[in-house]
Each structure stands twice: as C-alpha cells, then as structure tokens.
C-alpha cells in the first residue's frame, strides 16, 4: 500500500517535471527572447547585448535550463516583468482569494449536483426527472462567463441586490461588516462556478444512482422494510458516489480554467485575474509560474482523489 502511494506521488512529480521542462522549452524556443520582448525596440545593439548578458541569455540553453530548474526548486520563480516584483510573492498574495472562491464553488457544485441527482433518481423517467435532466444539460453547455454575466445583470443591475464585482467594497470595514461584505461579494462568483459545474456532476451521479437502484442489495433493503428514501440515500448513494471522487479529481483542470474566467468576469483578485493580466502584458515569468502552480494544483488534486478513493473503497485498493 505504502509502495503504491509513494509510486503514485513519484509519478505525479514526473508529470510536474515534464510540464516544467515543456513550459521552459516552449518559452525558450518561441521566436524572440526576453531582450526583444520587453526591451524597447529602439535600443542600440550594444545596449541590447548588455541586456542579454544581464538576463543570462548569452549562456547556452542547457545551462540556462538547469539554472532555472534549480531556482524554481528553491522557490525562486524569477521577477515579474510587469510588476517588477518577485513572482512568488505575487502568487502568494493571489492564492488565498482563489482557494476561497474555488473551494466554495466546488462545495456548491458537489452538493447541488448530488441533490439534483437524488431528486431525479427518486422517480426516474418522471416529468421532474426529465426537466432536471434538461436543466443540468443546459448548465453543462452554458459558458461560465455568459452565466456570470447573466447573474450580474439580474442581481446587480436589474435587482440591485448584490455587488457586481471585486472581493470587498472600497470602504474598509472591520469585524462583522467585513465578513458580510465578503460574503455578499462571494455569492455571484460561487454561484457561477457551482451552476456551471453541477450539471455534469448531476448527470453522472443520476446515471450511476439509477443503476445502483436496480441492484440486489437495494432490493434487499426494501424487502427488510426500509423506506424508498432511506434505501436510496443510505444504501445506493454511497456506492454511486464513490466513483464521483475520481470524477471530481479529473474535473480539476476544468475547475481551474472555469474559475479563471469567473475571476475575470467578477474582477476577483485571485490567480486567474493575475494570469489574465500577465497574458495581456506578455509577462512570461509570471505566466510560466502560473502554469506550474495550476498544474501542481491539478496534480495534487488527482493524487488526493486517488488516495481518497482507495481509502473509501476497499475494492479499488491496491
């Protein structure tokens, strides 16, 4: 068991290394280098050469790559061209808002998806089942930014109930007012992530719930006098929800991409917003570090999902 866990972690470290190397290779091999990307094009040739030397661009590629890899492993992610500050500090500032937003979004997505699936599976092929099925398909197909904009239009402009963007009001508040302010700003972005994510989850869970319902052990529970609701919730749901852990793990890249769009729509001061601004400014060090951190989050999530699946389900345990 320990061997398998360690092997899984080693494999994910290999993935991370491949991504890091690939990212570096892409940037190094793309036409133009740092001196042509950020230096003023009118710079005289001699000054450009000094620039290249200052950036270490006159050294051969393998030497540069090894130096970069060593620095990255030390946590030194270079300096952002746009902010003129260390990238690591920028990422550390942007991480907490993103973690707050995505974890709440994931929670809403999971609970909402499970609830819809359970309601559907109570009476499969009923009218309610079909409507909810259609709604979850729509949630799956709707682009997150369009859903976000629709919510902003409805709740911020038409009704005026909730703030349309940012994480906090400009006027600083303390104590409870601060918490209320944060919560009010969280509602719409969290709802956007939840609504667009729960559709796929509900479809998947409904399918496996309906399948589990027809299994012998559910029939046995019903024969023992267990109520239909209890048979579904206490017996079928845990078995149907097990593969969900893996599905959630696999959906992490989409969560990261989706929350990037949501952060841009709502001007949320997180990683997505930071990377979006970096791409606008062609801030390559920041984008490279962002790619690594995003990948690391996905890889970590996948490992955790696998470990959770092994822990929850003895059948898939190695």
């Amino acid at each position: 068991m320990t061997r398998r866990v360690l092997g899984r972690i080693a494999a994910s470290l290999v993935v991370l290394w491949v991504v890091a190397t690939g990212t570096y290779g892409l940037v190094a091999l793309a036409p133009g280098d740092a001196s042509s990307r950020i230096a003023d094009p009118r710079l005289p040739a001699a000054a450009r050469e000094r620039w290249r030397r200052d950036f270490g661009l006159d050294r051969p590629l393998p030497a540069r790559y090894l130096g970069w890899l060593a620095a990255t492993l030390r946590g030194d992610l270079d300096v952002s061209w746009q902010h003129r500050r260390p990238v690591a500090g920028l990422l550390a500032e942007a991480l907490p808002p993103t973690v707050l937003l995505t974890s709440l979004g994931l929670l809403v997505e999971t609970l909402g998806g499970l609830a819809i699936a359970v309601v559907q599976a109570m009476r499969p092929r009923s009218r309610l089942d079909r409507w909810l099925g259609a709604a979850s398909l729509l949630g799956y197909a709707a682009p997150p930014f369009a859903v976000g904009l629709g919510l902003v239009w409805l709740f911020s402009y038409a009704l005026g109930w909730l703030p349309p963007s940012h994480m906090l009001s400009p006027a600083g508040q303390g104590g409870w007012a601060h918490g209320r302010d944060l919560a009010a700003h969280l509602v719409l972005p969290v709802a956007t992530i939840g609504l667009t994510g729960m559709g796929a989850l509900a479809r998947y869970t409904r399918g496996s719930l309906v399948e589990e319902r027809s299994q012998g052990y559910v029939l046995a529970a019903l024969a023992r006098g267990c109520s239909r609701r209890r048979a579904l919730l206490a017996h079928a749901l845990p078995n149907a929800a097990l593969p969900l852990v893996t599905v959630l793990g696999l959906s992490l890249p989409f969560l990261v991409s989706g929350s990037l769009l949501v952060e841009v729509v709502f001007a949320w001061p997180g990683m997505g917003q930071l990377l979006f601004q970096a791409a606008l400014a062609r801030d390559i060090p920041l984008l490279m570090a962002g790619t690594l951190v995003g990948t690391a989050a996905v890889v970590l999530g996948n490992v955790l999902a696998d470990l959770a699946a092994w822990w929850l389900d003895p059948r898939v345990r190695p």
Binding site: G22, A30, L149, V256, L261
Partner: protein, 315 residues
Amino acid sequence: MRWPPLARRSALALAVVAALAVVGPLLCQPPDAISDPAATALLAPGSRRLVLTLADGTTLAAEQAVQVGGDWEIRRLGKLRAVPGGDVRGVESRRYWLGTDALGRDVLARLLWGGRVSLALGLLALAVSTLLGAAVGLAASWVGGAVDATLMRLADAVLAVPMLVLVLLLTALLRPSLGVLAVVIGLGSWMGVARLMRAQVQALKQRDFVLGLRAIGASPARILLRHIVPNTLAPLGQDAALRLGDLILIESSLSFLGFGVQPPAASWGSLLADGQAALGSGWWLVVFPGCLLAATVLAAALLAEGLQERLRHLR
C-alpha cells in the same frame, strides 16, 4: 435502429446554426456598415429607424420622418429637425431585430458574422486536435516500447495543465491569428484522442483478422492503414462530435478574454466581452450571444450522445 429523436433534433439545430453562419452574412449587411452611430447606439431589440443618406455621404437615423412638401421633417434623438429635400439621397427603413451595441452595430448581423468565425475556428481546432491525437495514438500503440511510454507520459503531463492557462501562455508567446489560434487550441486538446486511438489500436491488434493478415504476408503498413485505421474511425468520429462543443467553448472563452479573434472581426465570445462592457445598459448584448453559444454546445453534446447510442446498438 432509428436515430434517437433528441439526437435528430440537435443535429437539425446544429445544421440550422451552421446554415445561418454560411448563408446569414448574405442576408444582412456587414456589421461594420453603421449608420449614424450616435443615434443608433444601444437600441433595444425590435427598434426601427429611418435612415436618411445625405448628399455628403453622412447618414441620419431618425425615429420618425415625414416629407413636407419637398423637404424632410425628422425626429432624431428626440429633437425635431428639418432636412432640405435636395440633400437627401435615399431613405431606408431599418429594423434592428436583436438591438444594437454601443457603436450602433446591428446585433443580429454581428451574431451571424460572428457565428461563422466561432464555428469555423471550432471545426479547424477539432481537425488539428483529432489529427494530432490520432497520429500520436497510432504511433504510440504501433511502435510500442519506449516511444509508447514517452508519448503517453507526455499526454498525461499536458492533460494536467489547465487548458486555459496553457493556451494563455501560448497566445502570449505567439501573435494570435485565426490559424495560430486553431493550432494553439488543438495543441491543448489532443490528449484524449491519443488515448482513445491507442486503446482502439491495441484492442484491434489482438484480433484474429490481423493475425490472418500477417499470415498471408500483408505488410505492417498495409495492415495498419487499410485494416486497423478504418476500424477506429467510428469511435473517433463520436469522440470528435463530443469535443466540438468543448472546442467552440474554449475558442469563445479565449475571444471573451481578448486573446482570440481580434476586432473588428468578432466571434460569439468577443460579442459577450462587448456585452460585459455595456452590461448595465443592454441585456440583449449578453443574452443573445450567450444563448446561441449554449444552444450550439448543447446541440453538439446531444448529437454526440445520440451517435454513441447508435453505435452501441449497431454493435
């Protein structure tokens, strides 16, 4: 077996969207043909304006216009104004069925022209990712060994990078144009196809007909191209249908962020970005492109599901 009705309907819906994208631009004026932007900005859906073309080439969009004697008496932006009849070259009544944007462009025209870009880019990216993925999968499974292991680890690695982050990095490195955009999206989405192709070829390699072909002395290239590849086309096609919607979504996300199609060209994603800028003043700028985009993606997903159903019954 008959096609499932939902799949047939969504195939029809997709066909309608595609037909509109192809034929639509012939039916309406290009969205850049704006008349009198100050008086046609942010008109609600269904508005009508009378457009007077003057002798000096300028246009006036009037809410109402009556001809008194030889001259025109018009109301423009709520103010009455007289225009000498000699100045007026032509008068045309225009209906803005889906409203106009902040620059006075017709939303319907922009949707039709933008749909062209969205669908074309989606299909192009689909072709790139399917060809690339199929080639990688084929090479991995046929050569096997170290090549297989390397290619599949590479696929795992690219799969772990959040798609949008990868594409943002690529667009920052390369100047986006339509072709580059399709290649970039394709580079971020070939991994699923490669895995599918590899699994298919590995399964087919074990089958008796391949053994038989080997026994009668068919060359490996012939077995691969004439006998194995044709058998993988059905699952590949079904997978492609499933991914078409995703790729259209990715293209529109990129255009929404401003890294896709550059203005004045527009896709549904960039229409939504314009809509965000004017959200407080016009819901129609967000609702129509959003619904069209969602409907297209939905239709593609349902079509893929129908294909899957049909393939299962055929087997």
